[in-house]
Amino acid sequence: MKEILKLEHVDKHFGGLHVTNDVSFSVKCGQVTGLIGPNGAGKTTLMNIISGIYLQDSGKVYFDGKDVSQVPPYTRAIMGIGRTFQAPRFLQRSNIRDNLLIGSDLSENKSFVKSFFSRQNMNFETELNRYMKVAGFGIDLDDDITSLTYGQQKLLEIVRSLLAHPKLLLVDEPAAGLNSAEIENAMALLNIAADEKGIGVLLIEHSMDMVMNICKEIVVINFGKVIATGTPEEVSSNEEVIAAYLGKDELD
């Protein structure tokens, strides 16, 4: 399968703290790749580097075969890197419609003049209806975004990113704060992304149930270093991984 994202020797310091240390891995199209590691391992930092919010100190980021290491974040988004956030980020003062349309704007890519005169975004409602069925709750597009629960907002953020038709989707802890039914729906959405849309999904998650369930490949990092990569089976039997998660003493 085609590689959509490749990191090569990515290093990032915050002051004296070495957050990511020589990180290299890749993400393939059409499957979910898990990025796991203990708290503070540098997962979200990596996500910020991939989406361009942070610039790495050294190393390269390749997206879709192109070197995007120095490309600004909005250009990366236009190229096809979508993401969600640990705590959902919406336009708090806009209604749900605008919050979702801004996602679909990316896939429509209309000029200002065209969007000024035309009724918008043709496939928006059909696509949205489809995703909302999977997300498992109803919305009134004219409501404020704040009228939704936290879990619904997190699901809606995945929907928003799907409406943008990304080639690579970075999902940061989608299950945190969700109830079990919502977690099922989140997984269903990610499965649609990977299997049906052929998107390369990079998933950060602490819920091992979710990770083992939908990830074809897993990258484990600890203290900013990749300590293991492989299938869920390989990774879960890797001693270094067990040590990182459970602590060494328990092993001895």
Binding site: R93, S94, L101, D105, L106, S115, E125
Partner: protein, 332 residues
């Protein structure tokens, strides 16, 4: 919800029609001129509303661009520079000139963020004011520039307050419709994302910096248009209108009506311009009143009059929802 939207548009339309019919009957001479001024100011205020309401950037610069537009007309239409332009092309050119000016200044000023940007725009107003006040060759110094011709199209001249009133209503309506439409375009949503969450904006493909520059340019264009109309309405331009304390007035206009509401911005401009004339006897307390009003606004109605109405409408809607429960779980 569709029906509700229609009632509010209907009410606004009804109000506008009544306004257009009633004002020339009630107001004459000087007082009609004040109303005209308020409509001109409303155009500048709409520019501020685009920056502040849609984009969340507090900019005082609208007034500086209004000055630039007014002095542009004062120079090209009076023959001060050795040539004389017809009024209509000058009126169209002034916003273009101010737009270019705003674009270049925006590229520089918007490198600053948040409060720092706001302070830079205050400085811009102060600098432009001292130019207007002191540089005689272009701005006539403290005496101002007089003898500016009224707008004329063909042989028809908008020389009376009455004629000007109808023209301003038409221009303001067109500007308001454009601003209202921008709200639902991709650019409008980009601005909203810059206002509410710039990290989200970046990850959704929005070039935060250039989006702000575009909004600043738009506010420059609207300021320039208002300034040009101002010069042609009064046939005279002097620097005192473009002083800093008036810049705050425009922010208040935008906030009273509702900073993110097109119609609210217009109502705010009319209220703040016309009220002092009505309350002439209380003039010395006016600044005190404004100060108190801003505090009350910020605490009790941060989204202005429009926000209050919206809250009311929402409450009504909620009541309907709970009583019928019909709209539960339906995507509209």
């Amino acid at each position: 919800m569709k029906g509700k939207l229609k009632t509010s548009t209907f009410l606004i339309l009804l109000f506008c029609i009544l306004f257009v019919i009633a004002v020339p009957m009630v107001f004459h001479g000087y007082s009609l001129m004040v109303v005209n001024l308020s409509l001109i100011y409303a155009i500048t205020t709409l520019g501020i509303s685009v920056m502040l309401g849609m984009g969340g950037q507090l900019s005082f610069a609208g007034l500086a661009f209004m000055g630039a537009g007014a002095y542009f007309i004062a120079n090209v239409c009076t023959g001060r520079l050795g040539f004389k332009m017809a009024t209509l092309p000058a009126l169209l050119l002034a916003p273009v000139f101010c737009g270019i000016l705003a674009y270049v200044l925006g590229l520089i000023l918007l490198k600053l963020k948040g409060t720092f940007f706001t302070f830079a725009t205050i400085a811009l107003v102060q600098v432009s004011f001292s130019f207007f006040m002191n540089y005689r060759p272009l701005f006539g110094g403290p005496d101002g520039i007089s003898g500016i011709p009224s707008l004329s199209i063909g042989n028809y001249s908008f020389s009376s307050n009455n004629k000007m009133f109808y023209l301003l209503v038409v221009i303001l309506a067109v500007v308001a419709l454009i601003v209202e439409r921008i709200r639902v375009t991709k650019f409008g949503r980009s601005l909203a994302s810059v206002r509410d969450n710039d990290i989200a904006a970046l990850s959704l493909g929005v070039n935060v910096y250039m989006t702000k520059v575009k909004a600043f340019t738009l506010s420059g264009v609207l300021g320039g248009l208002a300034g040009a109309l101002y010069a042609m309405q009064g046939n005279f331009v002097a620097s005192d209108l473009f002083a800093y304390n008036n810049a705050t007035q425009f922010i208040i206009m935008a906030m009273v009506g509702g900073v993110n509401n097109t119609f609210g911005s217009i109502i705010g401009s009319v209220l703040i311009t016309v009220l002092p004339e009505v309350l002439r006897s209380l003039e010395r307390y006016l600044q005190l009143f404004y100060g108190l009003a801003v505090i009350v606004l910020m605490v009790f109605m941060p989204m202005g009059l429009a926000g209050v109405f919206k809250q009311l409408a929402k409450r009504l809607k909620m009541k309907k929802k709970t009583s019928s429960k019909a709209s539960e779980g339906v995507i509209k």
